[in-house]
Symmetry: C2
Subunit: 254 residues, 2 copies
DNA sequence: AAGTGGTCTAGACCACTCA
DNA sequence: GAGTGGTCTAGACCACTTG
């Protein structure tokens, strides 16, 4: 595969770094590099200037530059080889799957998300829920069952269980906003999510809700999300219409 | 949620750090911390000793300790909060989904993977393949179609396309080893993979091969993998029996 | 031999949280 | 105010790749 020559990015790209604001320097650098990759100022295969030179040219220390580059490596945009250099990965640039909710994914994709709340009820944790949330069996919880539409077409059935601390979530709020939005508005920060993605045949009820034939294939995802204290915030079991939704994942070897 | 007291890990855990060998110090530290979490020496919710104290106690610099901790944060095992400290995440500890192949996943799970090669043939890249591999339309490629069994039960149909550089892959090798094993044996290092996971109904042929009813739900995954030069090595389209396979993914907010 | 990224050090100052 | 993680610096030495 053709090895493109080293690319010296114009310093101008980095002239507006803000050293006094709250945004870290490595983040500002990473943003500008990412932009250069996305608009193909740095095309696939291009070799980056070496770290030491780049650092000195931008007036930053090498660790700061390294941190910026590492972030892009972790996103699958760059590849580093010792003794060789840093290059832009070939292949289409995909958005990173961050810890977002379906609602936000749809908004970003320009599809209009709407929600019908099928059920909101207090309940106690059975064994499965207790295991997932890390609470004792029988603990009070809130069960939510929603139907999510994209541009008016039914897309997913969302079953969620939350610890009782969030029992004051209102039906109205859930119709108008995504669950993660509502949680964030109460100061909860989701930090880690463990997901399991599978498939199965739709039940009669699911097929009915999603406007599918009974027994049609559906995509399933179960997830437990944890906040920045490491405590489970939410356990969800979702199923999606596979003709309208898929998961994108980028894996990077560290 | 209960906040467990600070946990001072015994220095003994870290006494056998090897400063002369090729294994980085941060990696050795991360391994020992991970082990302590997995065997619940550090139980869920436990607070770690602060970075500065830990560094001085182990005779390492703070950046080295930070790097070790960061690795575990990226794996979803630890959570950090400024002004508060570092804690072990609640919830079951899951193995990290690394950039592995199905063959290796099965081996690690103790299921015996076997493979039937359905077809191996040279071909030229159509538009879809060209796009995925980043090669011109019409480029020579190698198509491979395999049926993968776990403990003798059909599990997945694996369709793969590779650049012509790997056209010498033998049917025999493919029956006996995983594709990624064979690639690694030729010095290829996979670094980045972009996957798309979905579902659909099985075709008659797929149902036949996987021992399912026609129209049964199957789990699908398409993937492009890139080597450490950022060049596409493999494009795969796989489908799985959903009653015997699912994808596990851990997401971490950076 | 020259050039690259990988690791490690020893500090410094800051922002945030809690009592 | 004391303690925590977050950022940043300016070096150093090493391992690896290429010519």
């Amino acid at each position: 595969m053709a090895q493109l020559p080293e690319q010296r990015l114009p310093v101008e790209l980095f002239l507006d770094l803000d050293r006094s604001g709250p945004v870290p320097l490595y983040y500002q650098v990473a943003q500008r590099l990412e932009q250069a990759i996305r608009d193909e100022t740095l095309p696939a295969g291009a070799r980056l200037e070496n770290e030491v030179a780049l650092a000195s040219r931008l007036g930053l220390s090498r660790p700061t530059i390294r941190r910026a580059i590492q972030d892009l490596v972790d996103q699958g945009l760059l590849v580093r080889r010792r003794g060789i250099g840093t290059q832009v990965v070939h292949g289409r640039v995909t958005r990173n799957v961050e810890l977002t909710s379906l609602y936000e994914d749809l908004e970003r994709a320009g599809q209009e998300p709407t929600t019908t709340v099928l059920d909101v009820a207090s309940a106690t944790a059975d064994e499965r829920v207790a295991e997932a949330l890390g609470v004792p069996v029988g603990s009070p919880t809130l069960h939510i069952r929603r139907l999510r539409f994209a541009d008016g077409v039914p897309l997913a059935i969302l079953d969620n269980v939350l610890p009782a601390a969030y029992a004051d979530l209102e039906r109205d709020d859930l119709e108008r906003h995504g669950l993660y939005q509502l949680l964030r508005a109460r100061g909860v920060t989701m930090r880690v999510a463990k997901q399991r993605i599978g498939a199965r045949a739709a039940t009669a009820q699911e097929a009915d809700l999603l406007d599918l034939r009974r027994g049609a294939a559906i995509l399933t995802m179960s997830r437990t999300a944890f906040d920045n204290a490491g405590v489970a915030v939410e356990y969800g079991q979702h199923c999606y219409r596979p003709d309208r939704y898929a998961f994108e994942v980028t894996l990077v070897e560290r």
